[in-house]
Symmetry: D2
Subunit: 131 residues, 4 copies
């Protein structure tokens, strides 16, 4: 597919732990921030969807923590679509500090409707991801 | 009023920061956990209230951070009612580690209705707090 | 190996998100709380290790999010050792609410020394995990 | 003193709670992010200070929560020095969304040295704050 989406974020004091590095669970927050910007860039309005009862739910994460990040470092999250079919999309996401790869994950999300049941991805999103 | 409500919690790795101590904003989480237990103990069902559109909103916090807490320490949160009138309640809360006072705050909460406007405290709660 | 270690925790207001359920990244916090109790139960003093420069670093997580958890629910985290060899241990962790399985993950941790290089697991821990 | 320092941040999904708004304790994170940028702009290198054993510790917060913020809103944090004397500085901080004032706080910080005792503010910082 096309070039990955790039999102920049920064390590704040709140992100660190007593090991002096970013607390591991916070990488999931970093890549979630990037996904919000990613789908927004594809024309998806998550707030409007939610008001209509539709949400994207994380179903599976396979993550590798490769190098630690530290306070005040600027990080780049790269997001690319792996697949998008029916109710499901799979994304590949990386966190980089300059040339260094710190973290990478494959994330599977399912689109859920107001009924609490999976529903097809919004047509525009599916088309954009397939593009 | 009566003896303070006591709630126990523990410092988890996630609560620490790169200073090796509990991240300051997390004390607000600790005392919020205690408030949930406190109002539950007074017969308030926050989930049922929320389904009916009623929530308690923090309106003001005056907090002092006196001594740091560290990983794996067991903390005790003491909560006492200062006042409860109309739409508003004021609580006094302390975080202690054994005999040491680590943190104390006065917290003002307002009861908000489905309209987004303040509404009177649930009658049972107001009576219990006045008790 | 032996019966899984059981750790109980509760969903606090801070754990929820605007979807009305537990924010997905917080399951990593729940299982990390359980790991701290798990290794402590095996005689490992993480604070003493850290003062000596030794920390356990999360290297890999493969997680499935199966059912949502909600405010005030009591959760049980079950932790079992999958393997423990050299510098590395692999744990299997589940989050349950009563009989319902909400989340499960396989977590790989590496023991890191003061030099920033991997070092062998503490002997007592390796023996206990192999037991 | 001079014009307030302005820092921009955004509400991420992780910042919300089941009330559909920003979880109250997270405003303390927002203003802490702004303080890091503020002191960095005054030439203070918090990482270098920390390596030398010096940290800024929050001693007191008096906060008012005026209006809720929601997912994806862009917020502006304004920070101004109130006083800076000896070991202590007091800042006034506001969170705004456009023209709306959402939150304001007065925050007192104390400079702590390697001994765990208060020490004088770095000379450059004290001068800059007095400017």
């Amino acid at each position: 597919m096309s070039a990955p989406h790039v999102f920049e974020t920064e390590v704040f004091y709140e992100d660190t732990d007593m090991g002096g590095i970013v607390y591991h669970a916070n990488y999931l927050k970093f890549i979630e921030r990037a996904r919000s910007a990613f789908v927004r860039g594809l024309g998806v309005d998550q707030l409007a969807l939610r008001d209509a009862g539709t949400v994207f739910v994380v179903r599976r994460v396979a993550a590798e923590f490769l190098r630690p990040a530290r306070f005040e470092e600027r990080l780049e999250v790269r997001t690319a679509a792996v697949s998008a079919t029916g109710v499901r999309m799979v994304l590949s996401q990386e966190v980089r500090r300059g040339a260094d790869l710190l973290f990478r994950a494959e994330v599977e999300l399912v689109c859920m409707g107001a009924s609490g049941r999976p529903q097809r991805l919004p047509a525009g999103l599916a088309a954009a991801l397939a593009g």
